[in-house]
């Protein structure tokens, strides 16, 4: 974990209201990004916003020996912090802190990873898909499936998609017409599935029901307002079914989807 004044290497719009931001991120032994882990960015002026903004890594490429690597995020413009970020240009300085949080685990040998992404969950799931494709190539699991849901084609990112990616749109303007849950209902994973998801709450809850029905493991990357990002403030509470809370920033953001109380989450 480190706080860096790093440099924007590139920024480009990848879908309506979505940007991919790439920045220098020196490799450091044992503390590398990973799918599901995140970085917090100071996005704005000196006093406002007062809180850093968290974003999941969407990619990371280690540099050559001793050299700096490069990390990326895919972000949606939601408010003033992300609006500011959309105005960044290559060479601009970027105050980033990370990597933070617990990332995704690896599926059991022979399992079929089923990745589900929607909205701002696209970045981390693309990263996970790329990682699991390497695992699959090495024979550690079956080839991953990546199902991504969007309102319409305009929101589907213009990013190289991995093999096995399926796009679902509510209006059928691209790929499958319907929600990701609809598509999954008719999908046969062939091997025992292992679910991974990141996206809007209703989607997360739908995958939870699916995983439960199939008695499959489910790793869910949750979203919650954060202040410290390091476990110090108890602000990012996510309610769990056993009662009480876990902290999204250090206990998660990747949590066992079966323990999260999706009803109480908002």
């Amino acid at each position: 974990m480190k706080r860096l004044d790093t440099t924007v290497s590139s920024i480009r719009q990848v879908a309506e209201g979505y940007y991919e931001l790439r920045f220098a991120w020196p490799a450091q032994g044992g503390d590398e990004p990973g799918p599901g882990r995140f970085v917090t960015i100071r996005a704005g002026g000196r006093y406002d916003p007062a809180l850093r903004r968290p974003f999941a890594f969407s990619d990371y490429r280690a540099g050559a020996a001793g050299e700096g690597g490069e990390a990326a995020i895919v972000f949606q413009v939601r408010g003033r912090g992300t609006a500011h970020m959309a105005g960044l240009r290559p060479g601009d300085s970027l105050d980033a802190l990370g990597p933070l949080g617990k990332g995704f685990g690896r599926p059991a040998r022979g399992a079929r990873p089923v990745l589900v992404a929607g909205g701002i969950g696209v970045g981390p799931m693309l990263y996970l898909a790329a990682t699991l494709a390497e695992d699959a190539a090495a024979g550690l699991c079956e080839a991953p499936i990546l199902a991504m849901g969007f309102r319409n084609a305009a929101f589907a990112p213009d990013i190289d998609l991995p093999a096995g990616a399926v796009i679902c749109t509510d209006d059928g303007s691209s790929g499958f017409k319907g929600t990701v849950a609809d598509w999954l209902a008719g999908f046969d994973p062939g091997s025992p599935p292992a679910f991974y998801a990141c996206g809007p709450a209703p989607m997360m809850a739908a995958v939870a029901r699916l995983a439960e029905a199939r008695r499959a493991p489910y790793e869910a990357a949750v979203e919650q307002w954060m202040a410290c990002g390091v476990g110090a403030c108890a602000g990012c509470a996510v309610p769990v079914k056993s009662g009480g809370f876990v902290r999204a920033c250090v206990d998660g953001p990747v949590l066992d989807g079966s323990i999260v109380d999706w009803e109480a989450s908002r």
């Binding site: 000196r46 006093y47 916003p49 809180l51 307002w225 509470a237 309610p239 809370f245 109480a264």
Partner: protein
């Protein structure tokens, strides 16, 4: 000049190594920010509130961002007195900075229980009495607004200290959500407080217009961050002229200039809270800035800064 500069700050029998602390609730118990912040170099580490029993805290969401600030309704979530002693205190004991435990509870007896039990433990340098948390229904805020109760609670806590030798200072943390903060400060002083700290958060609310409900599950929360800094500086200015015990200033401090505003207003030490979230390096940078200011002004003691105000 540097050689003869005394960065220490006296609070009752305690001398903190320097005037910059990290505020309760924003720095956990000191390990969370490793390796980003060298907590040993701080003047003081104020822990998250400790209550007799474990508390889960309030329902989520507990945070929301506001213009130049934030609201929180953590609700004193903490592992409770036993777990604090077993799990958190060992790490704190090893600290070179002063360790001040923030004490909270539902009843006066709750506060007493925490203090009495901690008196038996080494590695604690002082108590900050949280009578000003706006986020618990039966708790802090009611206390913090009633001078008679503040005086009585302070006296009971001051008297309950049983350790021999140097006494651990009682620092009463004041709420800005009152008509006259000086009345409450004087009550704390009358009750035997060694110092007061101010300010805790202001009561605030954000409504999510799309969802048509309050963003925080609890409705209201406590406002902190740069937005409230002018309120904190005004409180410290007034309180430091109303009481003769030391005043510790906080509320929206982001850098050395902000800290110096508080020190010029009459505080002898400061705390950074919300700013640590945004820039973990802020407290130690502020300390460096205060040092540079003292050097430029030819001051040999932090306590002399307040006298510079014209």
């Amino acid at each position: 000049m540097i050689g003869s500069m005394d960065m220490g700050v006296r609070i009752g029998d305690l001398v903190m190594p320097n005037p910059v602390g990290v505020a309760s609730g924003t720095f956990g118990y000191g390990q969370e920010y490793e390796p980003l912040v060298d907590a040993d170099a701080l003047g003081a580490l104020y822990t998250k509130a400790v209550t007799p029993e474990p508390r889960r805290g309030n329902p989520a969401p507990r945070l929301v961002d506001t213009p130049a600030g934030m609201l929180n309704s953590i609700g004193l979530a903490n592992p409770g007195l036993d777990a604090f002693i077993a799990e958190k205190l060992p790490g704190l004991r090893a600290r070179r900075c002063s360790v001040v435990v923030n004490v909270a509870g539902k009843t006066e007896d709750d506060y007493l229980r925490v203090l009495e039990r901690l008196e038996a433990e080494d590695g604690i340098d002082g108590y900050e009495i949280n009578v000003s948390c706006p986020n618990v229904a039966h708790g802090g805020l009611a206390f913090g607004t009633d001078p008679a109760q503040v005086e009585r609670l302070t006296r009971r806590l001051a008297d309950a200290r049983t350790r021999g030798g140097a006494r651990r200072p009682i620092i009463v943390k004041l709420s800005p959500n009152v008509t006259d903060i000086c009345v409450v400060a004087k009550a704390a002083e009358a009750g035997g407080a060694d110092a007061v700290s101010c300010i805790n958060t202001l009561v605030g609310m954000v409504i999510d217009v799309k969802a048509k409900r309050t963003t925080l599950a609890m409705g209201t929360g406590g406002l902190s961050g740069p937005a409230i800094r002018p309120v904190g500086v005004a409180c410290v200015y007034k309180v430091s002229r109303a009481v003769s015990i030391p005043v510790i200033g906080l509320g929206g401090i982001c850098d050395a200039d902000d800290a110096l505003q508080y020190l010029l207003a009459g505080a002898v030490a400061v705390q950074l809270g919300t700013a640590v979230f945004s820039r973990p390096e802020a407290p130690l940078e502020a300390l460096e800035g205060i040092r540079a200011f003292m050097e430029k002004e030819g001051l040999s003691s932090v306590a002399d800064i307040g006298a510079l105000l014209l």
